[in-house]
Point group: C2
Chain length 323, copies 2
DNA sequence: CTAGGTGCAAATAATTTGCAGAGGC
DNA sequence: GCCTCTGCAAATTATTTGCACCTAG
């Protein structure tokens, strides 16, 4: 993990002059991984230039927060800490009261629930804080602490990719199965085409995943960062299950529509949060394609419905007789 | 809403003397509803006795926290606030940055997710903080702020009862339907008995709910406090749905077991958190009864399985032939 | 009588501010 | 030269502590 290229710090400032002091502080700050208190940062800075005043550090910290480079976090210690947001998605914290270390996680389920609560109260949420205080494994048991480290960005990408891969894998299964069981020729062709595309997506995602692993050999061993229910077997898994139980062509299309909608939302939501530009691009592109799939399925669904309606209209005797 | 009888403050302190000053501070504090800063409390106290020192207020506040009467909350303002825990279950906060008011909610779904994350990281969680910062409805639109007020205890009880009522209602439907469709006489009797018990529970819960409404006529109008997914149609709703699609006796029992397990957990979990002793008693009692139901269903399931096994053993020819 | 409670003032601790000088554009 | 950044020291804010005194058990 090499030092990230700090070309960004020049882009952010709204209006302000460059200054060697500020640059120094920003650079030292961005090199750090954890959650620094203002004082920690002063000590670090003093190592490189002992004639920097506390006030300047505070001012620069405030400037970084305004510029969006840093986030001020409050662990209830009576002072604030700062974490850089440079390649570091928003997240929640687990805070060990024993060793005062904190580890990070993200849960889109929690985020969804937060949105729900806010909506129910007509509250426009701007940001949310979730902190779990307790004792970490290392402090409770003996020593062995499986390093939480690594760039959060990488962990986010890893987990998002894992979910995406599961999704595409289940999508592939779903469409393959659907193609096999659909009686209607046109519908079968649609499913076959979608199966092929999901296969291509799967390959792309797996390639990207491998690329990530190459960036950090221990990446796979690190603990889960992004929690997402239903991620386990992929977004299409339930749909595939239903197909196995047997459904008609129209139902199969409807199930596909539902899954594809979830999948589109998934890629959109996480694509926007990716800080790794390659991953982001893939996700947003896939979000678009899943939307195309969705439209295709909806069109196909309507068309099939209409065809079946005509079919039924051609021999309405049986129906009228019953009515 | 009359002033609560403050007989409790004498029970809590571990070892300590009574003191008129402390008593005064505790009493004034417990009369307040919102989240007070130490300074707010000093001002309030000064109204009744202007010769009380800030230090004493701080010391008393700390004493109340230790005694479990108060909770220290941190809204990131650079100072702490205090809320009493007297008849006030743990909860999360929505904090309006515009008017600095905060409203409270509880989400057992969020709690479940927190537990899940903590478990995944081998972290023993002692307490969690969830704060949603943003703008409240009153600040965003004109003025009309639908008072969030009322004792949280009442809101908690109201919502827990609503969920319980939905659960029992769906349970009643489930068992009634199950009794009607079960072919096995013994199983039918079990379902009929459970249906009757759920009906009795339902009546008790509805009575309690009405009693609550009498305590606060505006109670029904207040916003949701306790968020619980799947609360909408009751814990047995899905099971009842499945029955409608048609299942055999064994499957019906299995579905009942699953629902009853959820229901038991629900009553247990919320019974423990009830601060209203009547509601608590009902919930814990029901938790026990649901557990009895659960055991009954499990026994019945095993018995039916065995009977069917014997049945099958009596004419094994067909099976052997196929194998 | 004595441990604990209280007031007052001073001490901490984190952070902010006033002001005069330094430095970039 | 102007405007911003910086250092230093003093100010502010929230909270804690030392110490002498007071009071309930």
């Amino acid at each position: 993990m090499d030092t990230p290229p700090l070309d960004l710090d020049r882009l952010r400032p709204a209006g302000g002059k460059r200054s060697s002091k500020r640059d120094l502080i920003v650079n030292v700050f961005l090199r750090q991984e954890g959650h620094l208190s203002a004082d920690d940062l002063v000590d670090l800075i003093r190592g490189e230039d002992h004639r920097i005043s506390r006030a300047t550090v505070y001012r620069t910290l405030q400037w970084m927060v305004d510029a969006g480079i840093a986030r001020k976090v409050d662990f209830g210690e009576g002072r604030f800490r700062f974490e850089h947001s440079y390649r570091h998605p928003r997240h929640f914290h687990l805070i060990c009261k024993s060793c005062n270390r904190s580890s990070e996680f993200l849960s889109s389920d929690v985020e969804a629930l937060i949105e729900e609560v806010a909506a129910a109260r007509n509250f426009t949420a701007r940001q949310s804080v979730l902190q779990i205080y307790g004792t970490c494994e290392a402090c409770r048991t003996g020593r062995p602490a499986p390093a939480d480290g690594g760039t959060t960005e990488l962990l986010f990408a890893r987990d998002a990719l894992r979910i995406a891969i599961a999704t595409e894998r289940s999508g592939l299964e779903f469409y393959t199965r659907a193609a096999a069981m659909t009686k209607d020729a046109r519908g079968r062709a649609v499913f076959r085409r979608l199966a092929q595309e999901e296969g291509e997506h799967l390959a792309a995602l797996e390639g990207r995943y491998q690329a990530l692993l190459r960036q950090d050999p221990q990446l796979e061993a690190r603990p889960t960062f992004l929690f997402f229910k239903g991620a386990a077997h992929g977004l299409f898994a339930e749909g595939a299950e239903q197909l196995r139980k047997g459904v008609n062509d129209l139902q199969a299309l409807m199930i596909g529509i539902k899954c594809e909608r979830g999948s589109h939302r998934f890629f959109k939501r996480y694509g926007e949060r990716f800080e790794d530009s390659e991953g982001k691009q893939i996700f947003l592109e896939f979000a678009d394609e899943e939307r195309t799939h969705l439209d295709l399925l909806i069109r196909e669904y309507r068309a099939l419905l209409k065809r079946q309606g005509r079919e039924r209209a051609r021999r309405p005797a049986a129906r009228r007789a019953r009515a």
